[in-house]
Structure formats: C-alpha cells, structure tokens
C-alpha cells in the first residue's frame, strides 16, 4: 500500500478538445507524489443534486515542476458533464493517486497502444513516458467518427498515430480490431489498451490467440476507489479482485476472459 491523499485542486485550465472531451488541468498546493500511466484519481462532483459518489478518471499528464495534473474528461452522463463545466479558479476535491499502473515496456520492445472512448488519456500518458524510440511505438485510437477523435498530433513525436472510425471519416473504417495493424500483430512484444469493455475484450481475444503480452485497463463501476467497498470487482484467476487496488490495469492472463 502507498500513501494516498484527499486534496482540493485548483482548476487552472479547462479546454474543450472537441464537443464531448475536455482537458482539465489541476494545480496542487503541494508537491505531487509520483503518478504513473494507468493510475487514476477519484473526483468529487460538487454542486450536483443527483450525484452522490465520486467519479474515477485516469491521469493524463503530470507536471512535477508546476505541480499540475491533467485529466481528459469525456461527457458520458451527469457527473462528467458537470465536471466539464468547471471554471478556472474553481476547486475540485480529489482522492489520489489510485490503482496500479501499466508495466513499463523494456528498452527494445515494440509496443502497440490502443485507446478508445474515455481510454485515450492513459494511453497518451504511457506513450509519453514509455521511454521508447518513436519507431517502436504505434498508437491506435478508435472512435465513432472524425469529430469524436481529439487532436493528438502532439503525440506524433512519441509514436506513429493510427486511427479507426466506425464511419470511415478518419483513418481506417471499423473498430480498432479491424485495423490493418492487427494483420501483423505478432510484430509487437506488447499491447496496452484502455477503452470500453467490448473493445478491451476484442483486443484481449486477439492478443490471447496470438500469444502477445497484453495489458488492459478496466472501467468497472466504483464506490470508494481505494479498496474498502469491494464493489468494483473483476473475476480473475485469483478470484474476485478489486480493480481499484489490484487494477485497473490487468495482464489479460490474469482475467477470466
């Protein structure tokens, strides 16, 4: 176990990345602890009559010199909507850092990072932190259509960007697992993925069949986020495990998929 905090962060930036995704940058009053890709925070939704529990969001970026941390919040329901209405100077109460991160790749690994929906943030964080040469990193992002993709061109320096859209308006048409990259999936030593349940399962299925190392990040519903409620469980080879403490990142070998 490691030290965790409950802190009021100050909103220093809230930018609409597209119609449904917002980049929220948060300033801490004190030095931030180490936070790794795949870890998440649990966010209080203030001033909302309907929302009782916190909402979990992956960390997207950390700047230890500025003491800032950023999240990408996609509007799904009432809580995420409310969060995207935050204004500069507002405070947001956060429990952090939570969960286990992705395992870092080895120096010579060739990796595929797959992100979809609200799963883009940790993948970009991992791309940045992977320490690999650009040539060895493929980043594959999936969405419904062009407008649902956010602009990630900054990340071209960390890896080769690939896209799928369900309507074919950007990149290849179809789901991420339909992308031509999957024709040579054995080129990769490691696959990392974060996104909707169905996407994770599709990726895991192929990785399993091809015997490629694969870590996925899950998004089960949470009440506490730090291991005391046992609500967020996933059946694994070791029994029901809480994804908030034993995950959200799992090697697919551990899962029952």
């Amino acid at each position: 176990m490691s030290k965790k905090f409950v802190e009021e962060f100050k909103v220093v930036e809230n930018i609409a990345l597209n119609s449904s995704n917002f980049l929220i940058k948060l300033l801490s009053k004190k030095a931030l602890p180490q936070i790794a890709p795949g870890q998440f925070v649990n966010v209080e939704v203030k001033n909302s009559k309907e929302i009782f529990l916190r909402r979990p969001f992956s960390v997207f970026e950390v700047d230890y010199t500025q003491n800032t941390m950023s999240l990408i919040v996609k509007i799904l329901g009432r809580g995420s909507k409310k969060l995207t209405e935050a204004e500069d100077g507002d405070t947001i109460n956060i429990v952090y850092p939570l969960g286990k991160s992705f395992s870092y790749p080895e120096k010579e690994d060739k990796v595929l990072l797959i992100g979809g929906g609200s799963g883009v943030a940790p993948m970009l964080f991992l791309a940045k932190e992977s320490g690999l040469v650009k040539e060895n990193v493929d980043i594959l992002l999936g969405a419904r259509s062009k407008e649902d993709h956010i602009d990630v061109s900054d990340y071209a320096k960390y890896g080769n960007l690939h896209y799928t859209t369900e309507d074919g308006s950007l990149g290849e048409k179809g789901f991420v697992t339909h992308h031509s990259i999957f024709e040579q999936i054995n080129n990769y030593n490691k696959i990392y993925a974060c996104g909707p349940d169905a996407m994770m399962k599709a990726v895991a299925k192929i990785a399993k069949k091809e015997g490629v190392f694969c870590e996925v990040s899950l998004e089960n519903l949470m009440a506490c986020g730090f291991g005391v409620c046992l609500c967020c469980i996933e059946p694994t080879q070791k029994g029901n495990l809480c994804i908030c403490t034993e995950g959200p990142v799992f090697n697919i070998k551990e899962l029952k998929w």
């Binding site: 009782f52 089960n220 730090f226 291991g227 409620c229 046992l230």
Partner: protein, 303 residues
C-alpha cells in the same frame, strides 16, 4: 479539554466514532490516508467461516443521496483472516471488532470461537442483518426466535463484548432488540442496510446482478435515527447508531437519539477522512456548548 470517552460494556473507546463494517475493509486501506489509532474503533469487513466470492458484478448502484450495494460478504474466511490479516493489523491503536457472519447458527459459533482466541479482538459484532446473502444473514435478524437463537448460542461460547447488529427491514425493531438483549447481547448496533432495488429504465434491466441490494447513505438517516431512538427507549444495553452519518452534526443527532457510539459507513467512500473530521467536530461542538463529556449527549433529546 472535553472528554470524548465512551464505554460499550467492557469496551473503552477513546471517542464514540467507529467505522462501519464493510466500508473500511480490514483497516489497512485507511492507513494509506491517516493513523487509524485516532478512531474510536474499527469494524472489520464481514467475515464468514469459509471463503466467499460474493455476488457477481455489478454490485453497486448510486441512488438519491445514497447507494445500493450487493457485495454479498466477499471475504477469504476466518482462517485466512487469522493467519494473514490479523498479524498485520493487530497492533493498530484502536479496538478492532470482527463482524461475524454465517448461514447457520453453527457457522456463527465456529467463527466466534476462532475470534475468541484472538487477544487483540475485544469484541464481535454479530451480523444478523446482511440483506445480500441468500441463506442466513438478514433472515436471522427479522424474526425474534431466530435472532434469539443465534444470540444465545454465540453468547455461550463468547465472553468478551457481544454486539448484535440489527436489520431495519422489520415492522418493529424494538422487539428484535429486546429479544437479543434477553439472550445476553451486551450492545446492539443499528442499522444495517435497507433492502432496495434500482433499475436502468433505458435497458430495462436491474442495475444490480442480484436485483435487490442494501441501501445506505444519507437517504436512510431519518429512518435510522427513528429506530435508534425507539431502541434506546426499549433496551438497557448501549446502542450503537449508524445510517447515513456524514458529519459531526449527524453523529450528534444519533447520540441525542440514544446512541452511545456511532459508526460511519458510506461516508468513507465519499471521503476517508470523514470519521476523523467527525471526531474533531464533536469536540468543537462540546466546547461550544460547554459540555464536559460526550456521554452527556446520549439520549438527552429535549422533548
């Protein structure tokens, strides 16, 4: 300085604020945030004789000012607890109380006998009110004869402080409280969760894998408070109150209604610091109102 100490039977608590069973794990997770030695006591996660996987996912649904859970007593069994968890937590500087569960009277006895051997466990809370298991659990707590039977048998094998945790899903909770008092319970704690249900109207499915689950949080506070007041007026043993306590004012309301001590549950999910903030808030309240000892609040509602 005000005096925050309270006594539940032989159990001395440095303050009346404990964490509720199933909402603070086996205390270790809370130590990531603060020293649990500050707490009045710690109710450990419900424990059974054998390993239980609990119910399938999804186990949780948010509701207006509350939540439903259907965890179903997931735990690795009492032996695993004794061998693996107990040694790690036994020296926390606060009373650790095991929440004892079973599907038969024999199982309750078996767990209790094992807990009885543990030096650093000064009390058990007999959970006869879990709404999330098929056999046992709540069914013991909703009728007087079965509540009496399990209390009597457990009392026979247990000399330390025996707290019986009552179900609110009954017509008259005072009858059950009196029944377990009559069989030697040293204290009653209430309330466990209310049986509830949530539906996804778009998908037309229940939100919980088990269809029904237990409702907790501020939503239930008015009913819990009423039950604590009724039970306080019906029994002589100390009452431990809970149900939707989110802040010091809530805790004080429960004490005014008759609770000698309180437990904080769902609030921990909102903020793990709430129990320690409540302790501080009670202290400030006593100072502001010039009350010397917290025990003076117990049951002193002006009518």
């Amino acid at each position: 300085m005000v005096n925050l100490k309270v006594k539940i039977d032989d159990l001395d608590l440095k303050n009346p604020v404990m964490t509720a069973s199933g909402t603070s794990g086996f205390a270790e997770e809370l130590t990531d945030f603060y020293d649990v030695g500050q707490l009045g006591g710690l109710l450990l996660k419900g424990t059974t004789l054998k390993n239980r996987d609990g119910n399938a996912y999804p186990r949780m649904a948010e509701t207006a000012s509350g939540m439903l859970n259907a965890v179903g007593l997931q735990n690795k069994g009492i032996d695993y607890f004794i061998e693996n968890i107990y040694p790690r937590i036994k020296d926390y500087n606060t009373p650790l109380i095991v929440n004892v569960n079973g599907s038969t009277v024999e199982e309750y006895i078996a767990v209790t006998e094992k807990v009885n051997e543990l030096d650093k466990i000064p009390a058990i809370e007999l959970n006869i009110s879990c709404p999330n298991v098929k056999e046992g659990g709540m069914s013991f707590g909703i009728s007087c004869p079965s509540a009496e039977a399990v209390t009597r048998e457990v009392r026979r094998v247990y000399d330390k402080t025996l707290i019986v945790k009552l179900s609110p899903n009954v017509t008259d909770i005072t009858e059950i409280a009196k029944a377990v008092e009559g069989q030697g319970a040293d204290s009653v704690s209430l309330v466990n969760t209310f049986l509830g249900m949530a539906i996804d109207s778009e998908k037309r499915i229940p939100l919980l894998s088990t269809v029904t689950g237990g409702l907790s949080g501020p939503a239930i506070k008015p009913i819990a408070l009423r039950m604590v007041w009724q039970v306080y007026n019906a029994v002589k043993i100390p009452v431990i109150g809970m149900g939707g306590i989110m802040n010091a004012a809530d805790a004080i309301e429960f004490m005014l209604a008759g609770a000698t001590a309180v437990q904080v549950g769902t609030a921990i999910f909102k903020d793990p610091f709430i129990p320690v903030q409540i302790i501080k808030g009670i202290e400030e309240y006593l100072e502001r109102h010039k009350i010397l000892s917290v025990s003076e609040l117990v049951g002193c509602l002006q009518m």
